[in-house]
Symmetry: D3
Subunit: 298 residues, 6 copies
């Protein structure tokens, strides 16, 4: 019968390509739970904005405490699952209890970083307001700016990345990528007062280091020079350094681990930069000449 053939065909192919199956393997990461952590974090990072009830100061500690507990609870169990997924040699020596203990320690360390994340996000919102003439209020920025969302997720994920949590930070930033078109690798280190305008098409690579008061527009790539090396390049510094007060306009690419854009420099739209630029410079694409052909002549 037809259906039996279809099923047998599929099941047989699982045996051939078992790298892309999880059959008979348990403890799977739950993407929805990880997104829930982001949603819960958003509630305490911008308290009151994403809650339908009015938060009152007399109750605020219970509100925060209960959300912290939920974050801790979910994060804990997902981190244990992430440890089991990864092929790390040190992990493989651990039993379930040791993993759980390690996850506990990690989660606690993460929770203690939340006030720092709030401090940084406060500067990011400030930077967005000051940098964008189209912004009418801080509320508008927090409610609707994709850049602020992407930075928030990236700041959360970066803390987990620093704590060597596998898989989860990347799932977080890819969620933000999917919602905003802004792809910030959790490994990227980003200073205060970071402002992304419009955002779609931005790529910020794993080993990028960004200073304070940096502004970036849509379509900007802070990437690697070549990926020919593949896995062999893992761990090397492949992405650029952007110093304080740099502005990078839309479509510009800044590539390479040795490339540094100096303090206060402005990179013009569509610039393609693979070598360092000194401080306080304005880099403009020498106008790639345009032909103006009258349509009469065409």
């Amino acid at each position: 019968m037809d259906i039996d053939n279809v099923v047998t065909g599929i099941v047989n192919s699982y045996e051939k390509y078992e790298g892309i199956t999880k059959i008979d393997r348990g403890a799977l990461i739950n993407k929805n739970e990880i997104i829930k952590v982001i949603d819960l974090m958003q509630k305490i990072l911008f308290p009151g904005f994403f809650e339908q009830k009015k938060l009152k100061s007399e109750y605020i500690k219970y509100y925060v405490g209960d959300i912290c507990e939920s974050i801790k609870y979910i994060l804990n169990s997902q981190i244990v699952k992430a440890y089991r997924c990864c092929n790390d040699i040190d992990m493989e020596k651990m039993n379930h209890e040791q993993m759980q203990q390690k996850a506990d320690v990690i989660t606690d360390k993460f929770m203690n970083k939340i006030p720092d994340i709030i401090e940084y996000l406060n500067t990011d919102v400030q930077a967005a307001y000051e940098g964008d003439p189209a912004a009418y209020s801080l509320d508008e920025i927090i409610f609707s700016y994709p850049g602020v969302y992407a930075i928030m997720v990236s700041r959360i994920a970066h803390q987990l990345y620093l704590l060597n949590v596998p898989l989860i930070p990347r799932i977080m930033t890819e969620h933000a990528h999917s919602k905003t078109g802004i792809d910030i690798h959790p490994g990227a280190s980003i200073g205060k007062y970071f402002f992304i305008d419009h955002g779609t098409g931005i790529v910020i690579g794993e080993t990028t280091i960004i200073g304070e008061h940096v502004k970036i527009y849509q379509g900007v790539t802070l990437g690697g020079l070549s990926t020919r090396g593949g896995q062999a390049l893992k761990g090397t510094k492949r992405h650029p350094n952007i110093e304080d007060y740099v502005t990078i306009y839309s479509g510009a690419s800044i590539l390479g681990g040795d490339t540094t854009v100096g303090k206060g420099t402005v990179v013009g739209g569509n610039a393609f930069i693979t070598e360092s630029v000194s401080e306080n410079t304005k880099v403009v694409v020498k106008n790639p000449k345009l032909d103006y052909i009258s349509s009469d002549k065409e």
Copy 2:
């Protein structure tokens, strides 16, 4: 105890950075309700496409009337909340009832614009069909073209923007931005028969004015020249004018409030334009010379 420290740390930081909290402030905008308005609008702008039941002409007026009522109901309450959020001086003098009355008047004006929106969208769908050889039917366009979705939301949001509704128009267009990668500021004025192909990475700024029969491809920016002025630039004409029958190919940037692309002009891919272009011109990037290096020599 550890958790108490975490909670205290977070709560204390709320006091420091109260600009990004809404504690003890009520009347919050509800993003989901605003998205619901978009969904309801879509049901009456393209009747029958986003409804699982078959709409019948004998019932259609009840269907439309009930949806109008729901739109009016939700919009009303969200507009009042938006008034409360914004820091407008005129608003601050109003009491709750005056705001509600103002919201009533505004909502009514908006509702009366719906037939115009339908008229415009009809031309947009037409333009998409005629402009895209890959389009097999009007149905395909309405069901699946991100450009049509983004234009629809932008036409809705623009009407609210013209009525000086704060916050809501932007939340609407950012929702469309998130789903499509097309970022049209609600302030942009757009003529009939507007066609966006593919769309991802398009930015259309607040003070842009677009004529009729304009076609735009992915990665196009209609933006400002520099944002150095920040909030000081608010309200000035910062974005270009695109006249009738202009086509702008992918990756092109047209920047500046004084920049006008004349009627019938075609702007080639990746062109970077900061000065006006006359009518019926074909602007082509003089091929930025390419080096063809044989890999033998590499």
Copy 3:
């Protein structure tokens, strides 16, 4: 009364613009059901990754069989609806039963292609792992890479496209486009070991042909040269051929149906290519000179 005017205005405009209404027409495609097919396919293409329970090999055939049944059930009814939507002359001659029989045959053919899709996706995941130094494990790639998601949907939709199913393939790929910013037309033919990095802003046109071991970065367009012809161009070969082992870096555009990028060639970032490139070539944008203006002098 005001509301009556609004309703009448809207209902009247439906009569004027009936191309964008579905009133008194039934049998409508259900977008959510089509997305459900994608979700179900994902469960059997990467078994265990998107399921919260642990899959066991002793049960796997029932799991696969039941999902196959659901896919078949939904796909069947949606294909019949799609046939009714399209304006195909051959279709119009068919009655409901004939359409249903045709849909049955088509669905069966599609189901038999699933093992092939698994085979191809296995190579894609392999290519992603080998090509991306930032990838820590196959799991990370399957869970979080937008490129893998877009390719998966494209491989599903392409099979339906080859079976001449109207509407549905495009709705599928536009769903992936919305989630990833990667717009692959279901008509595009794509070889094994295809890797898309970052992805946002990628456009791959309907008649594109891509070989094996091809790598593509964000912002790449494989498009048509001009769309001036509109519907007259339908069916012609408008998009390029990309041969085996080609790498195309971010922002590059390769346009035109006669344009072929030869085997092993590397296309540099932002290259704008409208003519064929021979094999094993490295195409680099001759650096569009940059001006470095010290801000002292500005």
Copy 4:
């Protein structure tokens, strides 16, 4: 393997007991859709009570019209399915279109009865208020009295029963039975001003006829004398007649198709009545003597 045995065992038993399977039979009644009809009816029978938004008189016709449309739509398709389920000889001669036409006519007739149902329910609510000293307001009755809910559903289902709709009326009243413990067969004919207090454990049989201003308490049975006949009794008058202004206290049973309780009579708690009672009588259980045993003596 074990699981295969389990599955085979189950599938084999389907062949043996096919009366209780629906395999290879389609067009199944959807219980949830039928409950949805009740919910929609409740919204227009008690307008504003079960809606979170404030209904306005200027919009009310659209609200009602749209709900009517939904009721008609769902009811129609469920009635066709019910026709297919039942084994009626007349039905079996009909093709799908004839069934659909019949369902259309029936649904229209039902819709025209809605104002009558409202009229009756108005009297029922009145009766509840006047009859129950514990009732503080009409609102309390409409919001919370199980008797009112059960009567509402019974009045809806009775109209469908009169129109010979199979299956659906019974599914409706069993839903009310499940929520309230009040089991009124849709065949029962019930006059105005009907009041059920507390309700749990009430049974009202198919051929019961109840006059106006009747009050019934918890645990009352209006039933048949014996069911020994089984299916042979179908269609015969098996349940009692209750004339106007009768009150029946808790736990009383009135049994038999020839049993009539005359106008104005009061039936005391726990009375067991199998013969007619004349008008204006007070039937009291002659106190089944109680023994009072002092626990000293026990």
Copy 5:
């Protein structure tokens, strides 16, 4: 046209029977919100039983505090709406702010009663365990005994009743009635160690007073003698007093405001009691003689 007639017919009947409509009246009680209060109360009255995550003592205060806040928030707004619904003369003099203040005071008083409710429920669970040989553990009782659920809701509703909150207490107890078949009026006063076994069909009237250590079985009515007076009886003592250590077996009715069942008395199944019974008595129905008819003779 038909549908217009139906709609007009319905809308017209709203004008005739406006007592059962809420058109143009706002501020409606939301039944679902009230049920949510019950669900939240259940979470803190039996902490950990109805929560999927493990509660930890280090976090418990945040958990409780956040739930308290939610209860307070919902209860507050529903109480204000309830005040508006009721036709109380004192209420009508209040403006919205005064109502809100009153609701605040009431909610606070209610919240302070929660520890008392926990104390009482603890005794009820104890009583259930000791009284029922079929109970295997306290867990079984808390998870699955309908009696415990009904008592819990009744103890919550009774506190609100004592605070003169209209509508809400009754909606709460009717929700429990619907789930359990146990109808306890919120006015009933019930002592510690109350045990209801099986429960279905129990009615406990508004002015009932029940002592400590009382056991009640299914089908028991603690009711009024006659309801002939209707609304005129409102406020009078109509239901019995049940003193400490009384057991009432299934189907018994105890009726009348002057009826007191003395301490330690056991009321046998089906007893019908309308007069007081002294202490430590065993009341048994003198066996209503049964006829045993051999079926041979029938």
Copy 6:
């Protein structure tokens, strides 16, 4: 501050009454998961009735197999949790793995009983159709008869009870009790062709034994004689035996572990039986005399 007092008061009471808390205890039974098992069982016990898609015989084994897998998966994890909840001495000696193995064995045994359950339910549906003149079809019975639902759940729960699974069987039957008003203890042993009509208010105790072809009406109690012994009675035979072909009419009580109702006997409404009745007897309540008081005289 007030809220802190409330929270402290509640948290303190948890320490006093820890029997009714689960703080710092994990592994909690999930009621919703247990209800899900019932829902899944219903899908395979009455295949096609509670599924919106048409089941086809060619696919049926995959459908059944996948549902079996889900049942097994959920049941397994809930049984382990139930073992942890109960205070059984044997259990306490087991470690987590031993419990899991035991749960595996138990679940397998249960799964193998499913064909038997189908066989029994088939007879129950048959009995309902033959016994009830109001039944129009088997479909009506399966869709809407509360008795069939209660028996189904009881037959499922009884198998788990026989396998000594704690807590879960009772939670299952209480769910059915809540929906139907029929309270069958999972310990009760019930023969084939069991028919419950109307159902509300039925109680069937733990040690009841019921033969084949038994019919029971609403309000019937098959209970214990006295519960004075409380927990001391646990495990003793406390409830009656009902032999084959017995009919018990509404409101009858049959009490006591030594009470046997002989084969073929009919117990009349409201009969109160505490001693055995011989075979083929008709037990009728000798009419408790009624007083007929003319209302003139009153």
